[in-house]
């Protein structure tokens, strides 16, 4: 199956997330901490 390109992903996020949920329930990573020191411009 072709990997959706970035634009397609923007529009199809809902469906893709649903598929991920069905196919890889144990793998669902629902939370991610972002370091506020890790993006240029964020103090």
């Amino acid at each position: 199956m072709a990997v959706p390109d970035k634009y397609a992903r923007t529009m199809e996020t809902e469906e893709i997330v649903e598929t991920e949920v069905d196919e890889a329930v144990e793998e669902e990573l629902l939370i991610e901490e972002i370091s506020i020191d890790g993006m240029c411009g964020v103090y």
């Binding site: 020191d37 411009g41 964020v42 103090y43």
Partner: protein, 370 residues
């Protein structure tokens, strides 16, 4: 979902900034040679206290988590505490950047008593001999005094923020010791050719060898030294530094300047990177969500001339401000490209055609160097 997806999501832009930099005033009692906002004299069109409170109300409604206040010297404004109180009272946290001149014992205690308030004191040398040629005669002593007052007032951990130059790069260990001695956090950031920095960048920016020195030092320090992801252009040297390698301009952050203009970030105060004004219909919210500039920045960016370089994933082509103000194309290498890919282009840049900052609030030059 991998970290790559997180970054992709953030690059598409958020419904509101995570935080934003707000330069409260172009007035400043110092005249640092590399000032990114070319500050010195107050602008007559500066936002009034009432204007500022309206902006804060907009930020509250957008749920911007906190603001990073700077300038010029923000404490020069007579309504500084009124503005800060209004922000905190409306659930917008305040971090601010200062040269420390106005942090006397009384103000230190006042600041220590406040809810969510973080302070960053600027310092560019571990002694007056290194610091003062950049920041002005007496500025080292003033900064140290401010730190002493904060310590005496039990403020808690503040930040010491250093712009790394050719002349202080050998002092990194000593800066860390200084921060440790106060229980403070050290933050080092990249010198950019922005504002007055445009005039001094070629003499002050680290050499190639020094860039490697900074990189190795940061790798060794891990998460104990903050960088604000300022050095992601160095990731092409090897193992990536901590951080997302991400330019947040127009995507997760932006700048509001003293007259209410909105720019992509504090390092690009230039018409080409101006998104609009808080005085426009719809205020800051409309500019953040719908300005042409920000919509454009949130589109996937092309690697351009960097596409054929194996380092692009690591360095993302570097910093648009660094490229813009050295006269380089935005879709090509950073002027400090560690692979040397900008060297030829830099050599043939027409200095007279290089973009100049759109605004200059510098005071007339006074020869005050030691």
């Amino acid at each position: 979902m991998s970290a790559a997806t997180l970054v992709e999501q953030l690059k598409r832009g958020l419904d509101a900034p995570i935080c934003l930099t707000w330069e409260l005033t172009y007035a400043c009692n110092l005249q640092c040679v590399h000032c990114l906002s070319s500050s010195g004299r107050r602008d007559p069109a500066e936002l009034t206290t009432a204007d500022a409170k309206r902006v804060l109300d907009d930020l509250r409604d957008l749920q911007v988590f906190y603001i990073n206040i700077g300038g010029g010297e923000p404490m020069v404004r007579r309504d500084f505490f009124e503005i800060v109180d209004h922000a905190i009272g409306n659930g917008v946290g305040v971090k601010f950047s200062t040269n420390g001149t106005y942090i006397d014992a009384g103000n230190a205690r006042r600041l220590a008593a406040m809810d969510y308030l973080d302070i960053q004191i600027s310092l560019d040398g571990i002694d007056a001999a290194t610091n003062d040629p950049v920041r002005g005669a007496g500025s080292y002593a003033v900064a140290r005094r401010a730190m002493d007052h904060l310590a005496a007032a039990d403020f808690g951990p503040f930040k010491i923020s250093v712009v790394v130059t050719r002349h202080n790069v050998d002092q990194l260990d000593q800066f860390k010791e200084l921060a440790d001695s106060y229980g403070a956090q050290l933050r080092i950031t990249r010198l950019r050719p922005s504002g007055r920095g445009a005039d001094t960048w070629h003499q002050l920016h680290p050499t190639n060898a020094q860039q490697r020195q900074i990189y190795e030092w940061l790798l060794a320090k891990g998460d104990t030294v903050l960088t604000g992801d300022s050095f992601f252009h160095l990731n092409a040297l090897g193992e990536p530094l901590p951080g997302l390698n991400m330019c947040g301009a127009g995507r997760v952050v932006c700048l509001i300047d003293p007259v209410g203009d909105v720019y992509a970030c504090p390092f690009v105060i230039h018409d080409q990177f101006k998104a609009g004004s808080v005085r426009d219909d719809g205020g800051f919210g409309r500019v953040w969500k719908h300005s042409e500039l920000f919509v454009e920045l949130r589109r996937p960016q092309s690697a351009g001339a960097c596409a054929s370089c194996g380092s692009y994933d690591a360095c993302q082509g570097g910093c648009m401000a660094a490229k813009f103000f050295t006269g380089l194309p935005l879709d090509g290498p950073d002027p400090e490209c560690v692979n040397g890919h900008a060297d030829t282009a830099l050599g043939s840049v027409r200095v007279d055609l290089t973009p100049r900052p759109s605004l200059d609030h510098s005071r007339p030059k006074v020869f005050a160097q030691t």
